[in-house]
């Protein structure tokens, strides 16, 4: 027998069968598209080869990384999720970072290319007490590719993380990402995720306030066109009192695109005086597009404020007409309105000055 390092199926790689739409978590999202691709390991150059660590950010020693890796996944209850298992099985590039107070902004760029290969990254961030970090993460694919991303962040007391993930894919590329964050009291998380252009994208931001009394602000924007599917399943769990959540998730669905948002918020009995607000807004640009959005509030504590809402709209005729009546052509007016719609998420990216990826279809000049 010749030992092979190559798995033949996704099932082999993850050590578990692909989830099917019969499971509630995958009801709207079919991984069948993935099954059609043969998993081929990354053969390109070290995706982190050009990484420059800024002041205040240092690599964790291997042994320490081994010790902490998986902790946030476990505490946010997703160690056994299929995309996480896939990441483990794919032997990801690992990067463990310790962040001290006053750290300079960090940029992480990953390009999954177009060679039809699987690029897997496992990132672990440890923010020391009082540390703060602005992290700008960019992911891209320019053709067939599968990107498996597992990121963990531990925010110690009074640590602040401003994290922007912009994932700009391709119709024949897939992105599976878990972003697991644990927050100690007094810490603050601003997590902004933006995804567009992937044939399939599934993002799972998962946050645990380990003893409550932390601040979590989530902003999401996903854009689907053609036959693309984008799915965000978020979870925020308060394991103590006085926690705050402010969540806005926005969707633009064009063509025959499908968008899924599922926002779980868990407020157990210990989480008195939690103040949580979740809003999901969807903009439908075509009759063939489809949007499924669902809040999933599990509230046991009685003294809490939990607001949630969902809106579904189209481009407003009166707004279009107003722009047109000033000489702005209909297509440019639509683009302005769309850019405006996306703006309240994009402007919260840590590097908001950097423009939206220029290839994003609706911003392409005709």
């Amino acid at each position: 027998m010749v030992a092979t390092t190559r798995a033949h199926t996704w099932q082999d790689l993850a050590g578990a069968a692909l989830p099917t739409r019969r499971s509630e978590d995958w009801r709207f999202t079919d991984l069948a598209a993935l099954a059609a691709i043969e998993p081929r390991p990354w053969s390109g150059s070290d995706p982190l080869g050009s990484l420059q660590l800024p002041a205040g950010v240092t690599r964790l020693p291997e042994a320490e990384l081994d010790a902490v890796a998986g902790q946030s996944l476990a505490r946010t209850g997703c160690s056994e999720h299929w995309p996480v298992r896939l990441n483990v099985g794919a032997r990801p590039v690992r990067l463990g970072l310790r962040v001290a107070a006053g750290a300079e902004p960090l940029r992480l760029e990953l390009d999954a290319g177009s060679a039809g290969e699987l690029l897997a990254l496992h990132l672990v961030l440890l923010l020391e007490p009082g540390a703060s970090l602005a992290l700008s993460q960019r992911l891209s694919a320019s053709g067939a590719a599968v990107c498996s991303l597992v990121c963990e962040a531990q925010l110690a007391a009074a640590a602040r993380l401003h994290w922007g993930l912009v994932a700009q894919g391709h119709s024949s590329a897939a992105l599976l990402g878990h972003l697991a964050v644990t927050q100690e009291p007094g810490s603050s998380l601003d997590l902004v995720t933006v995804s567009s252009g992937w044939g399939l994208s599934r993002l799972e931001p998962r946050v645990q306030q380990s003893q409550g009394a932390a601040r979590t602000r989530l902003r999401g924007l996903q854009w689907v066109d053609d036959n693309q599917l984008a799915d965000t399943h978020s979870l925020v769990r308060f394991d103590g009192p006085d926690g705050q959540l402010d969540q806005l998730h926005k969707t633009v669905a064009a063509g025959a695109g499908r968008s899924v948002f599922n926002g779980a918020v868990q407020v157990p009995r210990a989480a008195q005086r939690t103040d949580a607000a979740q809003l999901s807004r969807s903009l439908l640009l075509s009759d063939r597009a489809r949007v499924d959005t669902k809040p999933e509030l599990e509230i046991v504590a009685d003294d809490v404020k939990c607001a949630h809402g969902a809106t579904l709209s189209r481009l407003q005729q009166d707004e279009l007409f107003y722009l047109q009546s000033r000489g702005i052509a209909a297509d440019q007016a639509s683009r302005l309105l769309l850019a405006g719609y996306c703006q309240d998420v994009l402007r919260e990216l840590p590097d908001a000055a950097a423009p939206w990826p220029p290839t994003a279809a609706p911003f392409r000049e005709p």
């Binding site: 107003y322 722009l323 047109q324 009546s325 000489g327 209909a330 007016a333 302005l336 703006q343």
Partner: protein, 262 residues
């Protein structure tokens, strides 16, 4: 200023329009020549805003009859943006809020669309800022409004000033101002009226839709029209507005009853 030999800028003939199959305009006639200021008055719901939106090309309204000629050209076959580019301007009764779109960027794109049509060069951000500052002075508006989203969170009066700022930038040939005076405080009314007077010239024309004589005290119209039930029932000079101030609109019902019998 009336000169019967001045060129006709806008000619509305027996214009009929409906919304959702509900007829609203029932044959409007109106001729506007260069250099003229017209006022259209009339009860709530008489069709004044509908007329202005049909002229500007709002897609919710269907023209079911009649014609509109703008400087010899069929206006009704043009897209709304094209109408604007060739010099038609509508100051909205209810200016629309557009979240996320910067007022400055909006004004620049709009101004450049009009400039392009006139064969002028497009203005870059810096050149535009110079221009917009001179126009801000016309309406005495705080530059801080440029940094905000279009009309978002503007007070009623601030929105109206923003409309006149747009007019000052676009330098229209025919400006229709739909109740630009309502919601303005006394000082703002003077400023806006001053702006409109400043922009009026022998080559352009203004159509003011208003309910109040106090605007017409500041901007003297050459013609005053009374609209009722989707048509222009009576036209006259500035004295007609004074008369309305005195007698109100009760006579309208009698006259309408007569026209129906006739």
């Amino acid at each position: 200023m009336i000169r019967s030999d001045a060129p006709v800028l806008l000619e509305v003939r027996d214009l009929r329009a409906s919304v959702d199959d509900q007829p609203i305009l029932h044959g409007v006639n109106l001729t506007i020549r260069a250099g003229e200021i017209h006022a259209v008055m009339g009860r709530n719901g008489s069709g004044k805003s509908t007329l202005s939106k049909v002229l500007a090309g709002h897609p919710a309204y269907t023209v079911t009859g009649g014609s509109v000629t703008y400087r010899g050209q069929d206006l009704l076959e043009l897209e709304p943006e094209q109408r604007a580019r060739i010099g038609l301007f509508l100051g909205f009764q209810y200016p629309v809020e557009i979240p996320g779109v910067s007022n400055l960027e909006f004004l620049r794109v709009a101004t450049n669309a009009r400039r392009q049509e006139r064969g002028e060069t497009e203005l870059d951000t810096f050149a535009f800022e110079d221009l917009v500052n001179t126009r801000l002075a016309v309406v005495q508006m705080d530059p801080a409004f440029l940094e905000r989203s279009v009309n978002e969170g503007f007070s009623g009066g601030e929105k109206k000033r923003n409309e006149i700022l747009q007019m000052a930038l676009l330098e229209p040939v025919v400006a229709i101002l739909d109740e630009t005076d309502s919601g303005l405080d006394i000082d703002a009314l003077r400023i806006v009226a001053g702006g409109v007077n400043q922009l009026a010239s022998p080559d352009n024309a203004t159509l003011l839709i208003t309910h109040y004589q106090r605007l017409l005290d500041l901007i003297t119209p050459d013609h005053v029209h009374v609209m009722a039930a989707g048509r222009i029932l009576r036209s006259g000079g500035p004295e007609l507005a004074h008369e309305l101030e005195r007698i109100g609109y009760d006579w309208v019902d009698q006259e309408l009853a007569l026209t129906e019998v006739g």
